[in-house]
Symmetry: C2
DNA sequence: TTCTTCACTCGACCGACGGTCTACATTATA
DNA sequence: TATAATGTAGACCGTCGGTCGAGTGAAGAA
């Protein structure tokens, strides 16, 4: 159907422009008129597709999160990979710089975009932590991992990672950021009960620490 | 000086009313006119004391954080307490339900108050984590603790605690919240390298887990 | 006492915002 | 060609955060 295709085309146009502008100007400083101008439409058209400015934000975050979830599930489903590698791949699947509009992703790091950050964090942790926890459970039953609170630990790990590695919320020096990354990797080892350096060495290699 | 005393009285009046209203209505839905009505002043008076609505929010968060910091430093300074007890007391010092306006503290938990939450989290972690890390360092030199990344771990712990134990950001069942609390205590043990159940048993007792 | 000063207060006013509404254009169906 | 459904347009509205210049009244100077 041509109509419904047009519908999603236009809708995505709005989503793309809004995502870019939210990132560049900040969500609250980006006005609906800004979006209108970028897309080249009138107010009525905008409100035909979305019932509020915030609904646009939610839709953008849904779109980004969905990409991450698909990649994370894909990473978790490879039978030939060890649980250690699966965990690392799932965490890496959250780096979506290329697939997603860069301006939007960078905008998440800005301090003034607290709402964007919180919505993204919440959805990301809610969707990705269970995938991660399932892999950890597999690792436990294989005797590779040992963990008392797999699901909780993964939520804690993701929450702390996303918040602390975010440039905008805490102003930190680059070397301090490196230390945080090392600490997170070391902590992940403790959470998974991995005694040897398997995860750490592979992990640091992955991240280029 | 009578003038300067009046000045802070009026200023605190605005802060008190704004804090309550931010909590009840949410920061963005609370208008400056709402505050005006609650205090019984005119627009001009408000903008004589604060140059923007956001500056009021920052001042409120500063005030709350300062209370926590004072209590945390006090808890850290008792020479007769063991590092374990100090750590627990510092963490407990962040529960300020009574000293601070309750409406405001409850408001921090509401999902629509992302900006309030993020500002509070940022300042709280920045101010309290170093206090905690210093106590951990003491514990390490006493041979009670063993930790590779004291400062980083404390930042991670506080970030995850404040975010995950917040009712508003993730919607969780009560029993799930209890599990998160247990996991955080267990994680704190791992972070501090406390082998025995010292921290866990005392901690759970403190929190009534 | 009278004058001057200035911290403090007031509220009308402003531009811009998110959102609504109704009229109109275009297309698919009949 | 007539009819409905789907999109599009932009004038319009109420409200918001913030500005501004005109006061007010008490304290110090004369």
């Amino acid at each position: 159907m041509k109509v419904s295709k047009e519908y999603h085309e236009r809708r995505n146009e709005i989503l793309d422009a809004a995502g870019r502008l939210f990132g560049v100007k900040g969500y609250s400083k980006c006005t609906v008129n800004d979006i209108l101008g970028a897309v080249g439409i009138a107010k009525g058209t905008f409100y035909y597709y979305f019932k509020s400015k915030e609904e646009v934000l939610d839709a953008i975050i849904d779109r980004v999160t969905e990409i991450v979830v698909v990649r994370a599930k894909e990473a978790a489903s490879h039978p030939e990979l060890s649980p250690v590698m699966k965990v690392l791949n799932i965490i890496l699947s959250m780096r979506v710089k290329n697939e997603v509009d860069n301006d939007f992703m960078e905008g998440l790091h800005k301090p003034e975009n607290a709402l964007m950050h919180q919505k993204s964090l919440s959805l990301m942790v809610t969707r990705v932590a269970p995938i991660l926890a399932k892999v950890v459970d597999e690792g436990i039953s294989q005797g590779i991992f040992k963990s008392d609170f797999p699901a909780q630990y993964m939520r804690i790990f993701l929450t702390a990672s996303i918040t602390l590695l975010d440039d905008g919320i805490f102003q930190v020096k680059p070397e301090e950021q490196q230390m945080t990354l090392r600490a997170l990797v070391a902590l992940l080892e403790k959470m998974l009960g991995v005694e040897d350096e398997a995860l750490c060495s592979v992990g640091n290699q992955y991240w280029g620490v």
